[in-house]
C-alpha cells in the first residue's frame, strides 16, 4: 500500500455506507469489527453493518463498564471495549511449529501452523485512533524489531485499516495526554468521522493509501465542503473537552527511573491482586510464553506461543528463584516498562491512553493516579 496524495476528503451518507462495506468485501477482505456481545463491545466477524453497536454507548470508570442505549442511531457512539485489535494480529494462542519424532531425531513442520494460515485478507472496520496508535506500537515490536516476527508481519500486511475518529470518549480515556487521539493519526487506509447533525447522518472519509482512496471513489459520495470539515472539527473538539482522565507525561521516563524506591509502590502493591487483567486488555503488551505441548507418547510435539503477563511469578523465574517475587516489583515492572523503558527500547511510549487497564482492573487501579502520586512524592520537600 504505497503512499500517495489523497487530497479530497469525501462525504458518504449513512444510507450509502453499506456500499463501502460491499466494496471492501469485493476486494476479498473478511470484515472484522466491533459488535455487542455479553454486555460489552467486542471485536469479531461482522456479517453486515447492522452488527455494529448501533445506538449503544458505554459508561466506564475505574473497575466498571456498562453499556446503555443512547437516544440516537450512531454507529460509533462508544469508546473501546475490553478486546483490542492485538488479538487479531498477535493471537492469544498460536501454534508456531510442530515436530514428529523419527528414527533419527525429529522432523519439524512449519507449514501447518497458524502463521501459515494467516494468509487471509482482513479489514479492521472501526479502529479507534488510540487503537491505530497501539497497532503502530506493536508494529515497532514485531515488524521493525531486529528479528521480524513472521506470523505478525504476515497478518499485518494483509490487514486493511478503516479508522474512525472518536466522538464519545469514556471516563477512563486519556488519548489527548498521550497524543494518540481523539482524531485519527497516520497509518490508516481509510479514516472516517461520523457526523450526525441537521445536514444528516454521514461520514467524512479520507483515504490514507491508494486502496483507501479507491474504496471511497467506488461508492456514492460527494466532495466534502467547509461545513463538513467544521462539523468534524467540532466532533473532535467536543471529544477532547470530555476526556475522562489525563496524564502528565513531562519527563515521565526520568521520573520513573528516579522513583523506583518510592513508597507509592508499596501502596499500590497493597491493592493490586496481580491478576494480570491489565496486561491482557492492554493493546500494546506483547509478552509471551513459548510452551511445549506434547502428546502422551512424546512423538508429536507442538510449540505454542501464548500471551504472558509480567504480573505472574513464573514470568521471571529462573532456576533458584524468581527475580520479581513481590507484587510491588511486578506492578513497578509493568508501569515503568509501559511509560518509561519502552521509550529506550522502541522509541515510543508503551501506553496509548486507551483506558482499558483502568476500566478492567477489578480493584480500579488507575495508572494516571499512580503517576500523579509518584510525581507528588517526588517533589522536593514532599513528605515521604
Amino acid at each position: 500500500m504505497g503512499d500517495a496524495v489523497h487530497p479530497r476528503p469525501a462525504v458518504i451518507s449513512r444510507a450509502d455506507l453499506p456500499a463501502l462495506v460491499d466494496a471492501i468485501r469485493a476486494q476479498g477482505y473478511a470484515l472484522l469489527g466491533p459488535t455487542v456481545r455479553d454486555g460489552t463491545i467486542q471485536l469479531g466477524e461482522l456479517g453486515a453493518l447492522e452488527d455494529l453497536p448501533i445506538g449503544w454507548g458505554d459508561e466506564q470508570s475505574p473497575g466498571s463498564y456498562r453499556l446503555h442505549r443512547r437516544g440516537h442511531a450512531r454507529l460509533f457512539g462508544w469508546a473501546v471495549g475490553p478486546g483490542s485489535w492485538k488479538q487479531m494480529l498477535f493471537p492469544s494462542r498460536e501454534r508456531m511449529w510442530s515436530a514428529d519424532r523419527t528414527d533419527d531425531g525429529f522432523v519439524i513442520r512449519t507449514d501447518d501452523t497458524d502463521a501459515a494460515q494467516a494468509a487471509r485478507k482482513v479489514a479492521f472496520f472501526g479502529v479507534r485512533p488510540c487503537e491505530l496508535a497501539a497497532i503502530a506500537v506493536q508494529d515497532r515490536v514485531f515488524v521493525h524489531g531486529a528479528v521480524p516476527d513472521r506470523s505478525y508481519s504476515a497478518r499485518r500486511e494483509r490487514a486493511l485499516v478503516v479508522a474512525v475518529d472518536c466522538g464519545e470518549p469514556s471516563g477512563t480515556c486519556f488519548c489527548v495526554s498521550m497524543g494518540t487521539g481523539p482524531s485519527t493519526g497516520p497509518g490508516y487506509d481509510l479514516a472516517l468521522t461520523e457526523l450526525d447533525d441537521e445536514r444528516g447522518h454521514r461520514f467524512l472519509a479520507r483515504g490514507g493509501t491508494d486502496i483507501g482512496a479507491q474504496l471511497v471513489r467506488g461508492v456514492p459520495h460527494r466532495d466534502a465542503d467547509a461545513r463538513d470539515h467544521a462539523a468534524a472539527d467540532a466532533v473532535i473538539a467536543s471529544a477532547t473537552a470530555r476526556m475522562g482522565r489525563q496524564l502528565d507525561t513531562t519527563d515521565l521516563p526520568a521520573l520513573l527511573e528516579r522513583t523506583l524506591e518510592s513508597p507509592r509502590w508499596d501502596d499500590v502493591a497493597q491493592r493490586c491482586l496481580t491478576c494480570a487483567n491489565c496486561t491482557l486488555v492492554c493493546p500494546t503488551c506483547f509478552c509471551s510464553d513459548w510452551v511445549e505441548v506434547a502428546d502422551l507418547s512424546g512423538d508429536h510435539v507442538e510449540r505454542w506461543r501464548r500471551w504472558a503477563s509480567c504480573f505472574t511469578l513464573a514470568f521471571s523465574t529462573v532456576h533458584g528463584g524468581t527475580v520479581r517475587a513481590s507484587a510491588r516489583s511486578r506492578y513497578r515492572q509493568w508501569l515503568t516498562h509501559k511509560l518509561g523503558t519502552w521509550w529506550d527500547q522502541f522509541g515510543t511510549s508503551g501506553c496509548v491512553g486507551c483506558g482499558r487497564c483502568i476500566t478492567w482492573c477489578p480493584v480500579g487501579i488507575d495508572l494516571t493516579e499512580e503517576v500523579r502520586a509518584l510525581r507528588e512524592l517526588d517533589r522536593p520537600g514532599a513528605a515521604p
Binding site: 508456531m96 511449529w97 515436530a99 519424532r101 533419527d104 531425531g105 525429529f106 522432523v107 519439524i108 513442520r109 512449519t110 507449514d111 502463521a115 515490536v141 514485531f142 524489531g145 531486529a146 528479528v147 521480524p148 516476527d149 513472521r150 527511573e257 523506583l260 524506591e261 506483547f286 509478552c287 509471551s288 510464553d289 513459548w290 511445549e292 506434547a294 512424546g298 510435539v301 506461543r305 504472558a308 509480567c310 514470568f315 521471571s316 523465574t317 529462573v318 532456576h319 533458584g320 527475580v323 520479581r324 517475587a325 513481590s326 510491588r328 516489583s329 515492572q333 516498562h337 518509561g340 523503558t341 521509550w343 529506550d344 527500547q345
Partner: protein, 292 residues
C-alpha cells in the same frame, strides 16, 4: 530438514544435532560435544548461547563453552562443520534430560544468540577474567580466544571459583592453564567438605588483590552467580575500574532469545538480545535496585 531453509530467527525453529561426545565434569554437570545432523553449524562468538531443545520436555538457554573440529583447539570460534561444546548442570526437567543424553542421541539447537564478550574493547589492555561455578562455561572460550591472540593484550589473568573442589569445571584444563607463564590462573573454592585441596579457600573476590592490573587500562570479564558478580563489580569499581570496562554475563528467564517474548528484561535491556554480556555501565543502576 525444512528448518534449515527458513529465514533466520523468524520462526525460531531448532535444527537436529547429534551428541558426539559426553564428558562428566562434576556430580551434576556434563559437557556435551554436539554436531549438526544435516545442516552447517553457524559461526559463534565467545559469550553467546544456544537454545537447546529436548523434544517433549522443553527448551533452555545454554552458553556455548567451546568448539572443536577443523583442527583448532577447543574454544575456537565455530565455523562450517564444527562441533559445539555445551556444559550443562542438571537442575530441572530440561537440563536433566540434556545431561542424560548419550553419544549418538539427538537434540534440537537454535542459535547462536545474543552478544558475547567484547574483546575488541580489551585490545591493548590488561584482561581479568573472573568466573564462579557454572560461570566458567561462557568464559572458557574467551580464555582460549585471548590465548590465541595473546600478543593483542597486556597482562592476562583468569580467576576461577567454585563452591567446593568437587564443583570445579574443566579441571584438567585449569591445570594446563596454571602451568602457563603468559596467563595467571588462580583457583579458589568456598569450602572444602570432602577431598583434599591444596589450593585457596575463600570467595573469588579475595583473589583480586593478587592480580597486578592497571585499573585505568583493564577490561574485566565476569560470569557467575549474581551476588558474586555484584561483589566483583563493586570491588573493581572501588579500585577505580570504569563501569564501561566491566563486562558481566547475566542470567534471566529466556524463552524466545530474540527480543520478542519479554521475559528477560532488565530495565530497558533485553538480556537475550542486548546481552547476555553487558557492561556494568549499562546495567549497574538496574542491578542496584532490588527485584528490578
Amino acid at each position: 530438514m525444512q528448518s534449515r531453509d527458513q529465514p533466520r530467527g523468524e520462526l525460531c525453529v531448532p535444527s537436529p544435532y547429534r551428541v558426539v561426545d559426553r564428558t562428566v565434569e562434576t556430580a551434576d554437570t556434563v559437557t556435551l560435544a554436539i554436531a549438526p545432523v544435516d545442516s552447517l553449524a553457524r559461526a559463534w562468538e565467545p559469550g553467546q548461547f544456544n537454545m537447546l531443545w529436548m523434544p517433549a520436555v522443553g527448551e533452555v538457554p545454554i552458553s556455548i563453552s567451546g568448539g572443536v573440529g577443523g583442527g583448532a583447539t577447543g574454544g575456537d570460534r565455530g565455523g562450517d562443520g564444527t562441533v559445539l561444546l555445551h556444559t550443562i548442570r542438571a537442575v530441572g526437567a530440561v537440563t536433566r534430560a540434556l545431561c542424560a543424553l548419550e553419544p549418538g542421541q539427538t537434540l534440537g539447537v537454535r542459535g547462536p544468540y545474543g552478544r558475547g564478550w567484547d574483546l575488541d574493547a580489551a585490545s591493548g589492555r590488561d584482561v581479568v577474567i573472573v568466573g564462579g561455578g557454572l560461570g566458567l562455561a561462557p568464559l572458557r572460550p574467551v580464555v582460549h580466544e585471548t590465548l590465541r591472540g595473546r600478543d593483542r593484550y597486556g597482562r592476562l589473568a583468569f580467576l576461577a571459583g567454585a563452591r567446593t573442589p568437587e564443583d570445579l569445571l574443566y579441571m584438567s584444563e585449569l591445570g594446563q592453564w596454571r602451568a602457563r607463564t603468559d596467563l595467571q590462573t588462580e583457583v579458589t573454592v568456598d569450602a572444602v567438605p570432602g577431598r583434599e585441596w591444596r589450593g585457596d579457600v575463600g570467595v573469588v573476590t579475595t583473589l583480586l588483590p593478587r592480580i597486578p592490573f592497571d585499573p585505568g587500562r583493564v577490561v574485566a570479564l565476569v560470569c557467575g552467580p549474581e551476588v558474586m558478580m555484584r561483589f566483583v563489580a563493586a570491588e573493581l569499581l572501588r579500585q577505580g575500574v570504569a563501569p564501561g570496562d566491566i563486562q558481566v554475563s547475566l542470567e534471566r528467564t529466556m524463552q524466545c532469545a530474540v527480543g520478542s517474548c519479554g521475559h528477560c528484561q532488565l530495565g530497558s535491556s533485553f538480556i537475550c538480545r542486548d546481552g547476555p554480556v553487558v557492561t556494568w555501565e549499562r546495567v549497574g543502576a538496574a542491578m542496584g535496585v532490588r527485584e528490578r
